[in-house]
């Protein structure tokens, strides 16, 4: 009985979507996704610039420390 009830329920006709409303819904969702995508791209671009910049500054600092150490120890 329970199996046949489940089958009967599963066989009920599905609800008919309203095409116009469905299109509007899809458009709104696409707009939200487009905003996410542009933010994602912006973040990637910033990361691409940020990482070499930090590495460069770090390198300069290390060079400055070495030069200072050499000066203090009388090599220069």
């Amino acid at each position: 009985m329970t199996d046949s009830l489940s089958e009967l329920l599963a066989d009920l006709p599905p609800a008919a979507p309203d095409d116009a409303r469905s299109d509007r819904r899809r458009s709104r969702c696409h707009a939200v996704l487009a905003r996410h995508r542009s933010r994602h791209v912006d973040r990637r671009a910033v990361r691409r610039l940020w990482e070499p910049l930090v590495a460069g500054l770090g390198g300069l600092y290390v060079v400055a420390v070495i030069l200072e150490a050499l000066q203090l120890s009388g090599f220069r």
Partner: protein, 209 residues
């Protein structure tokens, strides 16, 4: 406009495809969204229409469900089960709606008699089509008379196509509690169908000599 169509619901996606779609959706891919939408929109709408028993409410909740998915897309876990996720959101939105509007199960049961149901199509004869339509009408009516939680568990399994574990998680209860609730709901549905059948027989005896 009729509430229901007699077409098949698109199949849910397999796990491998689902994972790929979730990955692309996290990056904001609209085609991945469209694929998920095609796979689940009719199921979600059917679930919400039968759960809320109101087309306008179901459409509003469906809008909100899809919007929540896209707003939440970048934060989705890689292994998200998208079907269960969507049904959880839809179900929770309906619970919130019921709470906010103090929508009583019993209040609208009488409205079911006013609902238009589409005639069955694809039957091999007009008689079979009419019989299927009558059967569908009786099941719809019996389903509408059940308490919300009973309708919910039946619909999650039958319309949502979720396994018991996933459906239990959607309902926020343990699998064992879900099995008990489902069993109770099936018994209630069987009783409601039986009563509908008997009242139909009484109506028939009133008009036949």
């Amino acid at each position: 406009m009729s509430q229901f169509v007699c077409s098949s619901v698109p199949n849910a996606v397999d796990r491998e495809t689902e994972l790929a779609l979730v990955g692309r959706l996290r990056e904001g891919d609209a085609t991945a969204f469209d694929a998920i939408y095609e796979a689940f929109n009719v199921r979600l709408l059917t679930f919400l229409v039968r759960l809320s028993r109101r087309r306008d409410v179901a459409e509003d909740l469906l809008d909100e469900t899809w919007l929540r998915l896209v707003k939440h897309a970048p934060r989705l876990a890689e292994d998200t089960r998208i079907g269960a996720w969507l049904f959880t959101v839809a179900r929770n939105l309906h619970v919130s709606y019921v709470r906010s509007r103090m929508f009583e199960d019993s209040a609208s049961a009488g409205l079911m008699a006013l609902w238009p149901f589409s005639p069955a199509s694809g039957g091999s004869s007009p008689f079979e089509a009419a019989a299927a339509s009558e059967l569908h009408r009786r099941i719809e009516h019996a389903l509408a008379t059940l308490p919300r939680m009973s309708r919910e568990v039946l619909l999650l399994v039958a319309v949502g196509g979720l396994d018991h574990g996933a459906a239990a998680a959607v309902s926020g209860i343990s699998p064992e509690a879900f099995r008990q609730r489902l069993s109770r709901a099936r018994a209630q549905l069987a009783r409601a169908l039986d009563q509908d059948c008997r009242s139909g027989a009484v109506r028939l005896s009133e008009v036949t000599p």
